[in-house]
Amino acid sequence: MGALVEEFPVILGAFWLTVRLTLASAVAALVLGTVLAAMRVSPIAVLRGVATAYVNTLRNTPLTLVIVFCGLGLGLVLDVSFSESLSTNYLWLSIIGLSAYTAAFVCEAIRSGINTVPVGQAEAARALGLTFVQNLRFVVLPQAFRAIIAPLGSLLIALTKNTTVAAAIGVAEASLTMKSLFERHQDSVVAIFFGFALAFLVLTLPTGLFFGWLSRRLKVVR
């Protein structure tokens, strides 16, 4: 326990980085995922094809590989740079990897949400003369989103856990910090592990409860 108290500021900093990684990637993944979902149901075959290929590729690739590609491939080989500071640069590259990966799952969730919207809704919207974009924006997507709040919450929890993979390119978030604490305090490995596990529970459990409550509250009454 002593190690946990002694290193408390370090641990707090690491989890703050985990939270920032999660939120930044979640926003980017939600936007990209929505665009991909719209592309996958669009009348234009090129867009459908591109989005389908993207989703199938990213879903079948390990996240670690995606992050390594972003960090080492984009970062080192192709010199993609967001910041003078090396650690900030890797942070952004890992956000790109995490959001690119998660967007594929967000897209699938939204697509299944679109399928829960009764056909009559979209037909009525068409009968009123709404175009494809208007139909999605005003009728279908608002209902689809309300139907998939619980799955999106699960995705957010999975994303929170997945941010640990950024350790692969040396982003000092929670898991990498835990590893370095293991090395520094070899006598209290178990306490440190349960401390970090508890902190992850503190992050993920309220997320699950909140999204459960939100999905019940916003459920479309039919």
């Binding site: 690739t61 670690t64 590609f69 592990f193």
Partner: protein, 284 residues
């Protein structure tokens, strides 16, 4: 559904869609060309970087061993995780509180924490607490078993719970004991229903073996992102080739899952539908 979202285009609609198709295709090609320029600028199309993949030695000595390590870690983990899932899934349905509650706590705990910190814990905890040398293979398998076993436990529980109550009641009424009800009546029907979900979780398990890269397990990703670049300085080509191998394996296993799903739909063992995988399965 998608065709419900827009009318069948008339002459003007077709023209507009053609124009949009053209514009988006042009934008796509421009994006690809930009990526091509960027790759070319850094010399990523040099034959020297891609040529290693035409050599048999490179495959036999560097890539295939990594692939075999990935597959064996996945196979060992799957062989332990599936029984783990059945034991804990059934334990959570026990009538005895002292079995149900601890089993539920274990499953929920390991589902809620990241796989990577379990792998780190296995690596460091094994030597610090038990005085054992934990190989990276063991650490990866340890983490994969606990995480995926817990998710599988939820699948098993959902599968058994999806059966109509009447099945249990009828079985008890004809005089079967609790163990017999589970073994003879519930499990045979539930397994059929949950097979597709189990296979898709095994795909996740296979993908998650790549986490071994972080603890220097010599898996397929390690071959692509460490060993090949160390020899040929070809990180991007190597990672792309390795990604293609992962995708091929996962698509093949995915086809197996689809086939199982179709088969279980035709199966006469049970009338219940294949259960949905618990949410966020497949994300891991």
């Amino acid at each position: 559904m998608s065709t419900v979202l827009y009318d069948t285009p008339g002459p003007r609609g077709i023209l507009r869609n053609r124009i949009l198709t053209f514009l988006f295709a042009a934008a796509l090609l421009a994006g690809l060309y930009f990526a091509y320029l960027k790759f070319d600028e850094k010399g990523q199309f040099d034959a020297a970087l891609w040529e290693p993949f035409l050599q048999g030695d490179v495959w036999v000595n560097l890539i295939i061993p990594g692939l075999l390590n990935t597959l064996s870690a996945a196979a060992v983990a799957a062989l332990i995780a599936v029984p783990f899932g059945f034991v804990f899934g059934i334990a959570r349905l026990s009538e005895h509180k002292w079995i149900r509650v601890p089993a539920g706590a274990v499953v929920e705990f390991f589902r809620a924490i990241p796989l990577l910190i379990m792998i780190f814990f296995a690596q460091y905890g094994g030597s610090a607490v038990l005085g054992l040398t934990v190989t990276s293979f063991t650490a990866v398998v340890f983490g994969l078993v606990l995480y995926n076993g817990s998710v599988l436990a939820e699948i098993v529980r959902a599968g058994i719970q999806s059966l109509p109550r009447g099945q249990t009641e009828a079985a008890l009424a004809v005089g079967l004991r609790k163990g017999q009800v589970m073994r003879l009546i519930l499990l045979p029907q539930a397994v059929t229903a949950m097979m597709p979900a189990i296979v898709s979780q095994l795909i996740v398990l296979l993908k998650d073996t790549a986490l071994g890269f972080i603890v220097a397990f010599e898996d397929l990703l390690n071959a692509g992102a460490r060993i090949l670049p160390a020899n040929f300085r070809n990180l991007i080509p190597a990672v792309i080739v390795v990604a293609i191998i992962y995708i091929i394996i996962n698509v093949l296993v995915g086809l197996l899952a689809n086939w199982l799903e179709r088969r279980s739909r035709r199966s006469r063992k049970t009338t219940i539908k294949p259960i949905e995988a618990p949410q966020s399965v497949g994300v891991g």
